[in-house]
């Protein structure tokens, strides 16, 4: 247990930024919009959260700022993909480049600065539970909030009317339009919400995980989140599993090294990606067999009401 608990704790800690981003991308993709701009959104969130916290001293304001900036940047993506019907892959990549560049440029003056950020707050009673206590209930508030968010999104997507509409617009915007709902407006809403969440994931990196800003500090976690959406098969609860698995494997390989064993670290690092590919293969094989596995039917396909045939 002495070995396992720190690894699991680290898994939750390092999985949380990826979890926020994955939840955001699940919302966006469920509505039928692919957003490859997650890495850029996370960096914008990390930077804006940091600068606001640095100025005001309040990390909650930082998180709020990161969410707003994420929504703003995602608006560009939504405009290009939903209103104009541009290629979603190209637009997403442009968002990543924009976020990487803009955060780097604007963040010049913040190099070497630190903030107080979020402190660890062990939850009373809960953190005393053996194993589960330190693993789940001895973190900063953003980690606890992610638990609530997962439960909420699972309920929202699968057990509510708006959730049904969200899933429907991802499957067939034409049908949703026929139902009298506005497909474009729904897609806008979930692209913006998803962008905001990804940005909060970035803010976790600069306010809770490490309390500093560094150029490109998300180091590719946005891309992992996009892979995790597939791993989770567009389900928030499975995203938790995936995010902690990725985080846990990363923490484990460092601890294996520290313990002095000569297990090849890159082999271990490969495992989550391998699992993602296996899931992808299974989804592809099962496609069209009436199983609830698989991507939203209209994912990545632009929809225009005028062209309805």
């Amino acid at each position: 247990m002495d070995v396992i608990v720190p690894i699991l704790t680290a898994a939750v800690r390092s999985g949380t930024p990826i979890l926020y981003a994955t939840l955001g991308e699940i919302l966006t993709e469920r509505s039928g919009v692919l957003n490859l701009g997650i890495e850029g959104l996370m960096l914008m969130g990390a930077f804006s959260g940091f600068i606001v916290t640095h100025t005001t001293g309040n990390p909650w304001l930082g998180v709020a700022a990161a969410f707003i900036v994420g929504v703003a940047v995602a608006t560009i993506h939504a405009f290009l993909c939903v209103t104009i019907g541009a290629n979603q892959v190209v637009s997403g990549l442009a968002i990543t480049m924009f976020g990487t560049g803009a955060s780097s440029l604007l963040g010049r003056g913040m190099i070497g600065e630190t903030v107080g950020g979020f402190a660890r707050i062990p939850l009373p009673f809960l953190s005393k539970i053996p194993v589960l206590g330190p693993v789940l209930f001895d973190h900063d508030p953003l980690v606890y909030f992610s638990y609530i968010l997962v439960a909420f999104l699972t309920w929202f997507i699968f057990y509510t009317r708006p959730g049904l509409n969200l899933r429907a617009v991802g499957e067939s915007p034409k049908v949703v339009d026929a139902m009298g709902l506005n497909s474009a407006r729904l897609r806008y809403f979930y692209t913006l919400a998803g962008g905001g969440l990804a940005s909060v994931g970035g803010a976790y990196m600069s306010l809770a995980y490490t309390k500093m800003w560094g150029d490109g500090m998300t180091a590719g976690r946005g891309w992992i989140a996009i892979a995790l959406v597939i791993f989770a098969i567009w389900h928030p609860a499975r995203a938790v599993l995936g995010a902690y698995l990725f985080g846990g494997v990363g923490a484990m390989q460092l601890r294996i090294q520290a313990a002095g064993t000569s297990f090849p670290a890159p082999l271990l690092m490969m495992m989550p990606y391998l699992l993602t590919i296996i899931v992808l293969v299974i989804i592809s094989i099962q496609k069209g067999r009436g199983i609830l596995l698989g991507s939203p039917g209209s994912l990545g396909v632009p929809y225009s009401r005028e062209e309805r045939g």
């Binding site: 680290a10 780097s104 070497g112 995980y209 490109g216 180091a219 520290a258 002095g260 670290a265 690092m269």
Partner: protein, 360 residues
């Protein structure tokens, strides 16, 4: 005979004057220098320190102009960047990472009137010089302090990538630590990345959980010092003074002073005295050094650091002077021998006292 002599004289004169023309003195206001950076200026580490050096140089020669392109991949893209510099009038080009080596050679061959300085490489030409610092000397000094401050006799080392530069630093650090504490072990964790603050934090925590009570590092962010401060263990930074990340636990840090070498090179170019050479300076020239040492370090250790520094500066002794043993306990450098610079640049083995592998 006289005719030949005359012709020969003319020829040498012509050739001599072209060479003199190429690298003759230039006024500071006419000198433009271009810098190729491997990372973003905002990395707070390697590229950031180079850029401080560049600004230092500009300040030293009023009127001189310099420009840079950051995050240039170590591939054919660097050729394009260097050629753009030259088109914009640069007569001096600095390439600040190892991987630019062959591309510098290509561009330099096509532009014999432009001076190139390549950091950390080994290929030179008439218009290509190389420069690097003996960071291992400063690492050795920081090791003396870390060894003394460890009570658990385990020091954790957060290391970026398994290349000779990093391995040399770990070895020098370990030799220093063992001089003040023969029982100390240095545990190494590889990140396989130069800049990933979150991963640097996890590696630091892993080492602390494995018993380390002093952390040293070779990575580009301040995440390891910040984590050490939170966990209450001592830390040795790198690149620059990292005490702002660990106000109470920062012992010292081996630091770069790129400004002095950039000022030196620009000065030579302006005076017209520049000739191709291999600059590999260390403590003696003040190219590398230690950040201010914490008050927590006992007086006698500070005195030892100073006397070891003097010993290295005197040139009679260097860090990799025998006897030095490898991890298996075999003597690699014999008593009385000193490791050659070439061997040091290709170092791919750990000294005794290091716990960890070098991934192949």
């Amino acid at each position: 005979m006289k005719k030949y002599l005359l012709a020969f004289l003319c020829l040498t004169l012509v050739m001599g004057s072209t060479i003199a023309l190429a690298f003759g003195p230039v006024a500071a206001k006419d000198l433009k220098a271009g810098f190729v950076y491997v990372g973003p200026v905002g990395d707070g580490g390697w590229t950031y320190m180079h850029d401080l050096g560049r600004l230092d140089m500009e300040k030293a020669f009023p009127g001189m102009e310099s420009f840079f392109v950051e995050s240039v991949p170590e591939g054919p893209d660097s050729v394009r960047v260097m050629e753009t510099f030259i088109r914009n009038g640069a007569k001096l080009v600095f390439a600040t990472s190892f991987g630019y080596m062959d591309f510098v050679q290509d561009v330099a061959a096509k532009n014999p009137d432009v001076i190139f300085m390549h950091c950390s490489g080994y290929k030179r030409a008439d218009n290509v010089g190389t420069y690097f610092g003996r960071m291992y000397q400063a690492r050795y000094l920081s090791g003396l302090i870390a060894g003394k401050m460890s009570k658990s006799n385990i020091i954790g080392f957060v290391a970026a990538n398994p290349i000779p530069e990093v391995i040399r630093g770990i070895n020098a650090f370990t030799l220093g630590a063992q001089k003040t504490n023969p029982d100390v072990k240095v545990k190494v964790v590889w990140l396989f990345s130069w800049f990933d603050p979150a991963k640097e934090k996890e590696a630091t925590l892993a080492l602390i959980d494995a018993g380390a009570d002093v952390i040293a590092m070779h990575a580009d962010s301040g995440a390891a010092p910040q984590t050490a401060e939170e966990a209450g263990v001592y830390v040795v930074g790198y690149n620059n003074d990292m005490s702002r990340y660990a106000p109470t636990k920062h012992l010292t840090a081996p630091v770069w002073n790129w400004g002095m070498v950039y000022k030196h090179i620009a000065g030579q170019v302006i005076d017209g005295t520049w000739k191709t050479s291999d600059i590999w300076w260390g403590l003696k020239e003040d190219f590398v050094g230690l950040a201010p040492v914490s008050n927590a370090v006992p007086e006698d250790i500070v005195a030892l650091v100073n006397s070891e520094k003097e010993k290295i500066i005197s040139g009679n002794w260097d860090v990799f002077s025998g006897p030095v043993k490898n991890q298996k306990g075999e003597i690699v450098i014999k008593n009385g021998d000193r490791m050659s610079d070439g061997d040091m640049l290709g170092m791919n083995w750990f000294v005794m006292g290091v716990e960890g592998d070098i991934p192949k």
